[in-house]
């Protein structure tokens, strides 16, 4: 008893900090462990089996790393991987940069801020099916894109979603368009925390707006930029809904992306084990990219 008391009194500063810290994250930890960790580990185990989920739990054979080997000679997987990488490289930087510029411009040089911000956010609010259908119509032969191209004198305008070369870029454009409003909102909330006095000091120094944007705004927003890059990266690697509604991976395999293929493997081909294996490959990809960002952030993110 006495010893314990001593121990308690001797509880180091760090231990106290730990206790306080853990108490703050406790609800989160419980939730993650209960509802995310188990499904994750389950899918990891399944990735070494040939499980078909309709056969029920436990009704599987362990097949070692076969799933992880066969996928590299599976054209569906390799083409989906290539399409996904193109998609990510095209969508992530565009969305984040565009959103930063828009958020800054709306904040500084715009009348009617609220309606503009609200309009930018509309694609995020609107029903995803409505968004997809409108874009299908935009890309139809009667839509503005085809008309524009025809007006420029092109005789055989691309068929956009019906064309193996244009379908993926068409969906990428739509994704940037519909995702930018969300990023603008996140930036807007971060901009509210920007220090006024520093900008005033820059004003006194006679710095131009462009210079202030690059020298002050970008560094100050860097934690948010880091957040947006990571989350947009993850959601782009996992793009699914627009593909499912607009092209179902077609024409041919032109818009077949990883998560769409994972979905098809699991629920159309009934190869849950294989789908889980692909998911874990996707996980490794994402994790590596995130780790690189995580270590890289020290150079460009200023807290």
């Amino acid at each position: 008893m006495k010893k314990e008391n001593e121990k308690k009194r001797g509880l180091s500063r760090q231990a106290k900090t730990n206790l306080v810290g853990y108490s703050f994250i406790l609800p989160n930890i419980i939730g993650v462990c209960a509802f995310t960790l188990f499904p994750m580990l389950f899918s990891l185990i399944i990735s070494f089996t040939d499980w078909d989920y309709t056969k029920g739990i436990g009704n599987w054979n362990f097949i070692g790393i076969k799933n992880f080997i066969t996928m590299w000679s599976d054209e569906w997987f390799t083409s989906a991987l290539a399409n996904t990488l193109i998609f990510v490289v095209g969508v992530v930087p565009t969305t984040v940069f565009l959103a930063m510029v828009l958020a800054a411009v709306i904040d500084k040089f715009c009348y009617a801020k609220l309606p503009v911000r609200m309009a930018l956010f509309m694609p995020y609010v609107s029903n995803v099916v409505a968004v997809a259908i409108v874009w299908v119509m935009m890309y139809s032969p009667w839509g503005p894109f085809t008309r524009m191209v025809v007006a420029l004198g092109v005789e055989n305008p691309p068929q956009w979603l019906g064309d193996t070369k244009w379908a993926l870029p068409a969906i990428m454009l739509m994704t940037v368009w519909s995702g930018v409003g969300y990023a603008v909102m996140i930036y807007t909330s971060a901009i509210q925390g920007l220090p006024k006095d520093v900008y005033e000091a820059a004003d006194i120094d006679g710095a131009g707006e462009v210079a202030k944007f690059f020298r002050l705004t970008i560094p100050f927003l860097s934690p948010t930029t880091f957040f947006l890059i990571i989350t947009t990266l993850i959601s782009s690697f996992q793009v699914f809904a627009p593909i499912q509604i607009m092209t179902r991976g077609g024409p041919g395999t032109a818009t077949n992306v990883l998560v769409y293929y994972i979905y098809t493997s699991a629920f159309t081909f009934y190869k849950m084990g294989y789908a889980s294996a692909i998911s874990w490959v996707l996980f490794v990809f994402l994790f590596i990219v995130t780790m690189i960002q995580w270590h890289g952030q020290k150079k460009w993110v200023s807290y």
């Binding site: 609800p27 309709t54 056969k55 064309d163 077609g250 024409p251 041919g252």
Partner: protein
């Protein structure tokens, strides 16, 4: 002001902790704790973890009423609701009631059904669309082997459904009762045919069909009327397999368990026919048109923009004059065949395979309903365009139900001949090896053919190579 805000936050915290601890305890005893957690966390949930709780409550008040749950892919208003209401009226004093739940018959809808079957709650009876899916479900212990129940009640499938019923057994055992007679055909605008002086065909070849489609095509741009609409928005494999099946039988995609049929001459001719109509004759919208403009059969056929289409799954839309106003008469014709004398089979067979969930607590009651539905309860469903499979129905009554409310809109004669009168040479499937993957392969290659990236020969040769690789894995 401030206090009130904190009160709200505090309550939210309490609520959260409550639900979290609630879930922690519920791992031990599922039945009782689910009720507990519901009280604490989700005040409005009245249903509970399944139907059992709800029906158990009813039992107390009403003697021994069992409420079954039936899942089907057909919207309730297309007949199932009426059928269930009829059953409920008839069986009210026998203590069985049924509730209909609709799932959408697509990937996600079937996933929903299957997870519910696996969890054992909420589904007593369900409908499967397609033999290959039934096979999966039988193997996965999601469908009850009905042998015992059939023997007990002297329910002889052959007596009601003929020898073809055996084709829908899995491993020699009945896991379902077929309820619908599927017969397909070309849906055509009889008024347009008459105006062009063409008789509704009862037999035709690919060439004749192609010629007629060309003849019926006229106009330009937005006003163009097409002879045919190949609904390539839907599953692309339907288009050619329906044509091929007339000659090659029930496995149009397979030569054997290990070899695909994509280089079979009849298959090639079928794909060529569709491709020619889309891309050479212009007598059908192209696949690209279909995809980029989201063309639907309702939007093309029922607005008079195409004289023919494949079907007949749009019966309900044809009869729905409020939503799809039109004044022409619709008739039906058999699918064309490559050359005269090659009609070896009739495209069709049994569908709407109704099964019982082996985990159901009310298997006897469910079986009672299955028998009733298959043998006598289907007339309301016939109004929605589904022809009963059992021979216990009066043919005239079925025809009347089928045509009810469609007088002058649907041609009675061809409906009877093509869709209702049973044939004796159906193309019944027997091979389902890697079905979804093979379909995916051929869909992709067909798309490349129809958008002009590959010729028919090239595309189908590639399809065969890829499919055979999968079959021999």
């Amino acid at each position: 002001m401030r206090n009130r805000k904190w009160l709200a936050v505090g309550m939210a915290t309490a609520l959260m902790i409550f639900t979290l601890t609630g879930c922690g305890s519920s791992g031990q005893d599922s039945a009782s704790s689910s009720a507990e957690t519901e009280e604490s966390g989700a005040p409005a949930s009245e249903d509970g973890a399944g139907q059992e709780t709800a029906s158990a409550d009813e039992e107390k008040g009403n003697g021994e009423v069992v409420t079954l749950r039936m899942w089907g892919g057909v919207p309730p208003e297309s007949g199932p609701q009426q059928a269930c209401d009829d059953f409920n009226a008839q069986y009210a004093d026998k203590g069985i009631q049924i509730e209909y739940e609709r799932f959408v018959n697509d990937d996600t809808g079937n996933l929903k059904l299957e997870t519910n079957l696996l969890s054992g709650t909420g589904v007593d009876i369900y409908v499967t669309y397609g033999l290959s899916v039934l096979q999966k479900r039988a193997e996965g212990d999601m469908a009850l082997d009905l042998t015992e129940l059939m023997e007990r009640d002297g329910f002889d499938q052959k007596e009601y459904f003929g020898d073809m019923a055996l084709a829908y057994y899995v491993d020699g055992k009945p896991y379902s009762v077929p309820t619908k007679l599927d017969q397909y055909g070309i849906v055509l605008n009889k008024t347009m045919f008459e105006e062009a002086g063409i008789d509704v065909p009862t037999e035709w070849t690919f060439d004749e069909f192609r010629q007629i489609a060309k003849q019926l095509t006229h106009g330009e741009g937005q006003d163009k009327v097409y002879g045919m609409f190949w609904n390539s928005q839907q599953d692309l494999t339907y288009l050619f397999t329906y044509l091929t099946a007339q000659t090659n039988g029930g496995d149009p995609m397979y030569l054997s368990e290990t070899e695909s049929a994509f280089m079979d001459p009849v298959v090639l001719k079928s794909v060529e026919l569709i491709n020619n109509m889309m891309n050479v004759d212009g007598s059908s919208p192209t696949h690209t048109d279909s995809v980029t403009q989201q063309l639907s059969q309702e939007g093309m056929f029922l607005t008079g923009k195409s004289a023919m289409t494949i079907g007949p799954w749009m019966i309900r839309s044809i009869k729905d004059l409020e939503n799809y106003p039109h004044d022409f008469e619709t008739a039906f014709a058999p699918y064309p065949v490559v050359e005269a004398g090659q009609r070896n089979y009739t495209q069709g067979g049994y569908g709407d395979l109704i099964s019982i969930n082996p985990k159901s607590e009310y298997i006897d009651e469910a079986w009672e309903f299955v028998k009733w539905y298959a043998l006598e309860g289907m007339l309301p469903v016939a109004e929605g365009g589904r022809v009963p499979a059992a021979n216990t129905y009066d043919a005239q009554a079925v025809t009347d139900a089928f045509l009810k409310g469609a007088e002058g809109i649907i041609d009675a004669e061809t409906t009877k001949n093509i869709l209702i009168a049973p044939a004796d040479n159906y193309a019944v499937p027997s091979i389902t090896a890697h079905g979804p993957e093979i379909s995916q392969v051929v869909k992709e290659e067909l798309e490349k053919i129809f958008i002009g990236e590959k010729t028919v020969e090239e595309g189908m040769a590639d399809a065969k190579e890829r499919a055979d690789a999968i079959l021999n894995e």
